[in-house]
């Protein structure tokens, strides 16, 4: 018997505990009453008109975010993948930047940009037109949809542009030769081929919107409405209604699972012979006089997602009064000194965040490497189950996972609440699927022949893993490490329920400051978070030799 089997089995078991424990508790608590099993918590939750409204708001939000993301992401993908629009590299880079920007920072920045009265864009609009009404009001459902969509469309972009890269131009050209106009070709040939990718991008965007906590908390609560995530969070206020929160989490969990299943079917059905490997020609479409207007349109999108929010954060960091123009009277370094030297929580939070990010990334990368090796090489009985479990957290929104973890780890035998370990478990579980997808792709690309050669020469599995496979997989695993790291430093929706005052992380501190209206300090910490994120992205790019979204350089 192979000695290595113990390693594989314990990795798989760790996975089961990681996921089954919190979700098991969540399910149990949602039906447990004083006298055995009850549906009372569900009844309480779903009969409450406030909670019904929150549910409906979430449906509206998620659906529209999906649509807007498609409307932005698909044309951008087509432009950069298929046309001669100028500065394609720049556009891709900016899409990537929007992908990694923490959405709650974007939401916060948009409060400064498009608050109906003090928002800078509205002030500008009024001074230009003399109008009384604001141009934009971010504290509305459309405002919320917009702010969520500009950080969610990259999911559609990635799906569509990767598909477009696999479709040869032959069919499109055949149609063109037969006399079809450019639009007709797009409508009748290209569109049907990318439809599954579009639909699945739509679903991914919907899922993001369902799970988001920070943006609704920043934009919906001031406007007087809740979403499911903010409602679950407020059920934790004293006296906490944890059972109701658990019951209210279940539909979110089911909706996510259902949508992902639909997405999987859509992608699985991609039986079009035309979407093959990388064979065939992909000819660039000349946009002619539309080249520059197309670029301008891309840049408008990107200024909403990147340029304007980043600029306004930078301004907020250096201004005494964020709503006033920056000038000699309104310039200060005080926000920085306050944040770093006077505000006691900052440094502890940065240290906690970095510790957690490094720890989670190291253990997470090791785990996904092992697990994807197991599933790729089919090393244990039930490897399909391992693959299923490792991807399962995708269906668990951060808030829901946090409710489960809170229940599981505030009572014996494992009391972890109050320590960094409960956050660690949350992050590890939550980031596992992303890391696994990366590691899985890596191992798929490494042929088993090399390992077989090692086996023939008498080496054990573990030695082969160390000496043959690991060196080949190195850059892919580093990338997985970085994805996990980025995911951890921006995590808010689970952290907000699991932190204690001595285990605060950066995102929680930013949220705390938001509740008190300390704009300067938030801007400073936001910039720190962005700097950390982009430094890590640079590291991934260096490790992979390509950009994170999947295109070769």
């Amino acid at each position: 018997m192979d000695r290595s089997i113990a390693v594989w089995v314990s990795a798989a078991l760790a996975l089961v505990v990681l996921i089954a424990l919190p979700l098991g508790w969540l399910g149990w608590l949602s039906v447990s009453g004083e006298h055995g099993v009850t549906l009372a918590h569900y009844r309480d939750a779903f009969a409450d008109p406030a909670l019904q409204k929150a549910l409906w708001n979430t449906v509206v939000l998620a659906f529209w975010v999906g649509l807007v993301s498609v409307a932005i992401g698909a044309p951008l993908a087509w432009l950069t993948a298929r046309t001669d629009v100028p500065a394609r590299g720049l556009i891709r880079g900016l899409v990537l930047a929007s992908f990694v920007t923490p959405p709650f920072l974007g939401a916060f920045a948009w409060v400064m940009l498009a608050g109906p009265n003090a928002g800078m864009l509205n002030t500008l609009w009024r001074s230009l037109t003399g109008a009384d009404a604001p141009l934009l009001n971010i504290f509305t459902m459309p405002g919320l949809i917009f702010v969520v969509a500009i950080y969610t469309f990259p999911y559609v972009y990635i799906m569509v542009s990767n598909t477009l890269a696999l479709i040869a131009s032959d069919l499109e050209e055949a149609a063109a030769i037969l006399g079809a106009g450019r639009l007709t070709v797009a409508r009748t040939v290209t569109l049907p081929m990318v439809l599954p990718a579009l639909a699945s991008g739509f679903i991914l965007a919907v899922l993001q919107a369902l799970a988001l906590f920070g943006s609704p908390a920043i934009l919906a609560l001031p406007a007087g409405f809740h979403t499911v995530t903010t409602q679950i969070w407020s059920l934790f206020q004293f006296p906490p209604k944890v059972e109701q929160a658990a019951a209210f989490s279940v539909p979110l969990l089911l909706a996510t699972a259902l949508l992902l299943d639909v997405q999987k079917r859509l992608l699985g059905r991609r039986g079009y012979a035309a979407v093959g490997g990388k064979g065939g020609q992909r000819r660039t479409i000349a946009l002619g006089r539309w080249r520059w207007p197309a670029l301008a349109a891309c840049l408008v999108v990107m200024s909403s997602a990147i340029f304007l929010p980043y600029a306004v954060l930078a301004k907020g960091a250096f201004a005494r009064a964020w709503a006033q123009p920056l000038g000699r009277d309104n310039f200060t370094l005080g926000n920085f000194t306050f944040t770093f030297f006077e505000y006691g929580s900052t440094r502890a939070a940065i240290v906690n965040t970095l510790e957690l990010a490094v720890l989670t990334a190291c253990i997470g990368a090791a785990m996904v490497a092992l697990l994807s090796y197991i599933t790729n090489r089919r090393l244990v009985v039930g490897h399909q189950l391992v693959a299923f479990l490792v991807l399962a957290p995708v269906v668990v929104p951060g808030v829901v996972l946090a409710v489960g973890l809170f229940i599981a780890y505030t009572r014996p035998p494992f009391v972890l609440y109050g320590t960094l370990w409960i956050l660690f478990l949350a992050y590890l579980t939550k980031e596992m699927p992303v890391g696994y997808a990366q590691a899985d792709a890596t191992f798929r690309a490494i042929p088993a022949d090399l390992e077989d050669a090692g086996r023939v020469l008498g080496a054990g599995r573990l030695r082969i893993l160390k000496e043959v496979t690991a060196p080949l997989a190195k850059s892919g695993i580093i990338a997985a490490w970085c994805f996990i790291f980025i995911g951890v430093i921006r995590e808010l929706s689970a952290s907000i329920l699991l932190f204690t005052p001595s285990t605060k992380v950066m995102s929680v501190v930013i949220f705390d400051l938001k509740e008190e209206g300390q704009f300067g300090a938030i801007s400073v910490l936001g910039l720190v978070m962005l700097a950390l994120t982009f430094a890590t992205v640079a590291l991934v790019q260096a490790a992979l030799g390509r950009d994170v979204l999947g295109a070769r350089r």
Binding site: A50, F139, P222, F238, P240, T500
Partner: protein, 344 residues
Amino acid sequence: MTKRFVVAAVAALAAIVAGAIAGADAQTPSKHLEGARKEGKVVWYTSLVLPSAEKVAKLFEAAYPDIKVEVHRTGSQRILQRVMQELQANIKNVDVVHTSDAGHYVFLKEKKLLAKYTPAGVDAFPAGFKDKDGYYYGLRATVNAIAYNTKAVSAAEAPKTWKDLLDPRWKGKMVTAHPGYSGVIATHVLALVHLNGWDYFKALAQNKLMIVQSANDPATVVSSGERVVAADGGDYSAYQLKKKGNPIEIVYPKEGVPLVVSPTAITAFAPHPNAARLFTDFTFTRDVQQVMADSEGLYTGHPDVTYPADKPKLSELKLLTVTPEELEKRNEEIKKRFVEFFGA
């Protein structure tokens, strides 16, 4: 007031306070000092606005360099949530609890979670600042007031009374903080319910207010111009902003202003009990109470504290008060009805 001036002022004050305490030490060294030194720190959950809380902590650390203050600032209701959640998981972290919801202390006392402790010098405080059983004492007080942006609203147009806020001309132009977060606001809501009934809030909600969380935030929203009238909020945050040159003015409605006395108490399970006592004594010294009155614009129970000339004295205001017992009993009702009217 410039940043540098503030820093210098804090340093100078710290020196004075430290001197005063060292002087006191020479005669009667605090009996908690040695124990506090051994404990090395005190953990303070506080709802005092962040810069003010950090200032008090810095003053203490300047006076007692070998004892650190760990400040955890959040809204009153969140503090109670934290304390109870931690206890449920058997975590004993907090030494001193300071919130603006006096009802919390009734609740905590009943649960036997508070230690009996009478800070030095509070005998002379008025009755409203003292628990009859000796568990908690009012560290500071504020009143809820209306604030308006002077660039957008003239003094003549500005609302003068709570009822003026019901005028449809303020529709979409006001901001309120949240009783589910802030104890100052929970107290405010109850006091105005006494005055005008829940119908007042039902009618107020028709004016579509922007909802923020902290009682400090309405003033920042108004001074930024995002909304022009704050329907509630501690007058001290508006006062501080006004002092810094922001376009904001305070109105003390003539029907009366809800008085919020914010108690402080030491927990029964305090991991650093001596440091907690030393810190509590320190915060009740005249010097620290005077700092709160001067630079923070707060009221205090200390009879010897003097107030800035540009702020009304408490005795000049008609005060609306609620009892801690009623606040505790109606806490759920206050939060629930507010959410019912305002939506979130």
